[in-house]
């Protein structure tokens, strides 16, 4: 199976094939013997050509993998996705950049805007207090505040939609 691995910095084309003793990875004309044994839910001991790694798969974020403690964000595209992209579809672009959700759970202590306000990229939108620290949530885009879904004094869970900018 042909796959494309993408990170924010680069892209690699690989071929994955399951065989009896593990996974065979072909990349740049090289063959790697990949063997993963699950040692705990979502945690694997991996041997690649006898080099040893401990790998954790983040249960909530499908594209985040931890190798020897280092988190790596990557995208794994199979032939179907690659073909769709050639046709002009990009499944990874569906999320709206202006829809901001809480990256941390905590208490909303201050909201700097009301719907209708114009904001610039990088401008503070609100403050969320978590673990006794005040965290400033900045706007990722320039635009107009469309909707604010939280109030000052409200506790939010991670992932809650808090503000929308169009």
């Amino acid at each position: 199976m042909k796959y494309e691995i993408n990170t924010s910095q680069r892209s690699l084309e690989v071929d994955f094939n399951f065989e009896s003793d593990g996974l065979i990875i072909n990349v740049d004309g090289k063959t790697l013997h990949f063997q993963a044994i699950q040692i705990h839910s979502g945690v694997y001991s991996v041997l690649v050509n006898n080099r040893s790694f401990v790998v954790g798969i983040c249960p909530n974020e499908a594209n985040r993998v931890n190798v020897n403690g280092t988190p790596i964000n990557l995208e794994l595209l199979d032939a179907v996705h690659l073909h769709l992209r050639e046709l002009g579809w990009d499944s990874m672009q569906e999320t709206k950049v202006g829809l901001i959700s809480a990256q941390i759970p905590g208490l909303v202590t201050k909201i700097f805007h009301v719907p209708g306000d114009e904001v610039k990229e990088g401008e503070p939108l609100l403050l969320i207090e978590a673990m006794k620290m005040e965290n400033e949530i900045k706007s990722p885009v320039s635009g107009v505040v469309q909707k604010i879904s939280v109030n000052e004094g409200q506790t939010v869970e991670k992932g809650t939609n808090i503000i929308e900018i169009v």
Partner: protein, 500 residues
């Protein structure tokens, strides 16, 4: 000596204190919130009492309740740890008035040194130099702005009642001043219930170097050398080491004497820390005194061989210091890495959730002071620090190599941590050379984050292969029958650290 001590804290410091108590043959009483029923400190303790709901204002800061438990349990002394009630004069006073020993300095010393304004005023009467700044907390913003302009930007805004980086802001220009004061006041109000802030001069290439002191009730005060704490972000310490690679024996001697003078100026008793800022010209200024055990106290313990908690307890029971200044001998080098539940790649946002897998490093010279285990939930209620990794070796280079090795061995699955960030700091050439100051993070932020974001093709392939393997295995297992293993362990009566 005491027979029973209540530890008015949670997390790693509660465990740290309990360990020494048990070694001294003292029974330990834990207090816990509803979120902490099965927390490590509860499991370790001889007795444990529920003191309220999860938010710390209703539990670990509820001193009436804690005092009630102290009386009920028959504890003869209370150890406050750090944070929470450790610098609360009312608590210290009420504990003493109830006939229970507060393991810490007298309320009067906490009051003087705990209030940065009063501390400054006290220090101005001594020979110890202080940083230029306001002597009164800010009341009027316009007046404050004028003072800031007189001192000269950049200035630092700090909480009068705080510590640990909370309620602190650096301001580079007059236009940002009012906004920064507001933020510092709100943060300080929320963290310490005290919104007063003050201003001081920001020094050139400053080092944050602190001295550990010990003082008994018999008039003896000594210092146990320094800890270099210049690796900070958001004014919170990340890595500390002893000895400091920046100061020499001459300066060490002078600063040590200044630390002792500081402690004596407020009739200090117990373990305390005198913090100094040292600029690039090696001028030192008194910054503040922390009237409690510090988070980073283990680096001093590792190089001096002295158990600071044991000394605290001995002093509190009225015994004289077990050692005098001439007999303090240090050996080797110690480095502490603080492990936070934070995502270094997303501006250190707090990370909460279950620890699904845990591998704590060990081996020669490796100490971990923590309070975590597999399956435990990291909640947003308390401090994000999970624990501290302290590595000791015969010299600085070996201690850094050992730290790097241990960090690589450390695995906490399920939440984001600062383990890798610490690794990036330790392998940075400027840190390795020992020529860093408190601007290290600001100056090398991009390099550190680039280091964190860089992965070799090999690592990327391991990540991708694992993801592919994981996804296909999930597809497989949903087709096959239940693959859950039955537990075959005979250890049905696991002791988990309790004495039976």
């Amino acid at each position: 000596m005491f027979k029973k001590i209540l530890i008015a804290n949670r997390g790693e410091i509660a465990l740290r204190v309990m360990r020494t108590c048990r070694e001294m043959g003292i029974e330990v009483v834990a207090v816990f919130s509803e979120a902490d029923r099965t927390a490590p400190h509860v499991l370790f303790a001889d007795e444990a009492y529920l003191i309220g709901p999860a938010p710390s204002t209703e539990s670990y800061l509820n001193y009436e309740k804690i005092l009630e438990v102290a009386k009920e349990s028959g504890a003869e002394a209370v150890h406050p740890g750090y944070g929470f009630l450790s610098e609360n004069t009312d608590f210290a006073k009420e504990v003493s008035e109830a006939g229970i020993v507060f393991i810490g300095p007298p309320a009067s010393a906490i009051k003087i040194m705990g209030d940065k304004t009063m501390a400054r005023q006290t220090m101005l009467k001594t020979q110890v130099p202080v940083v230029p700044g306001t002597e009164e907390p800010i009341a009027d913003i316009a007046v404050a702005l004028n003072v800031a302009k007189e001192i000269g930007f950049p200035v630092l805004i700090k909480a009068a009642g705080g510590g640990g980086g909370k309620g602190m802001r650096i301001v580079h220009a007059a236009t940002d001043f009012e906004d920064a004061v507001g933020k510092a006041q709100r943060e300080s109000q929320s963290a310490f219930g005290d919104g007063r802030v003050y201003i001081e001069k920001y020094l050139e290439e400053p080092h944050h170097i602190e001295f550990q002191i010990l003082a008994d009730t018999h008039g003896n005060t000594i210092h146990l050398n320094e800890r270099e704490c210049s690796i900070q972000r958001r004014y919170q310490k990340v890595i500390e080491e002893s000895p400091s690679p920046f100061i020499d024996d001459g300066l060490r001697l002078k600063m040590g004497q200044a630390a002792v003078e500081t402690a004596e100026s407020c009739s200090y008793v117990g373990a305390g820390t005198v913090e100094f800022l040292v600029d690039k010209h090696r001028n030192y200024y008194f910054l503040e005194m922390n009237t409690r055990l510090q988070v980073e106290h283990p680096v001093t313990e590792m190089v001096t061989g002295i158990d600071l908690v044991a000394e605290q307890i001995r002093i509190a029971s009225g015994q004289p210091l077990s050692i005098d200044q001439e007999n303090i001998k240090t050996s080797g080098h110690a480095v502490e890495c603080r492990i936070y539940a934070e995502d270094a790649t997303h501006d250190f946002a707090p990370s909460t959730g279950e620890i699904v897998m845990l591998q704590i490093p060990d081996g020669t010279g490796t100490r971990f002071d923590g309070a975590i285990r597999q399956g435990i939930e990291i909640t947003p209620y308390y401090d994000p620090m999970l624990g501290k990794l302290i590595c000791w070796a015969k010299d600085r280079e070996s201690a850094l190599n050992r730290s790097e090795r241990a960090l690589r061995e450390f695995y906490i699955g399920g939440i984001e941590t600062t383990i890798q960030f610490c690794r990036a700091v330790i392998r940075h050439p400027v840190f390795r050379e020992g020529t860093y100051d408190t601007h290290f993070y600001a100056n090398f932020k991009d390099e550190l984050h680039a280091d964190l974001a860089t992965s070799t093709d090999e690592v990327l392939l391991v990540a991708a292969g694992s993801l592919y393997h994981h996804q296909n295995q999930i597809k497989h297992s949903s087709n096959t029958s239940n693959s859950t293993k039955k537990t075959r362990s005979n250890w049905v009566n696991a002791q988990l650290g309790r004495n039976a």
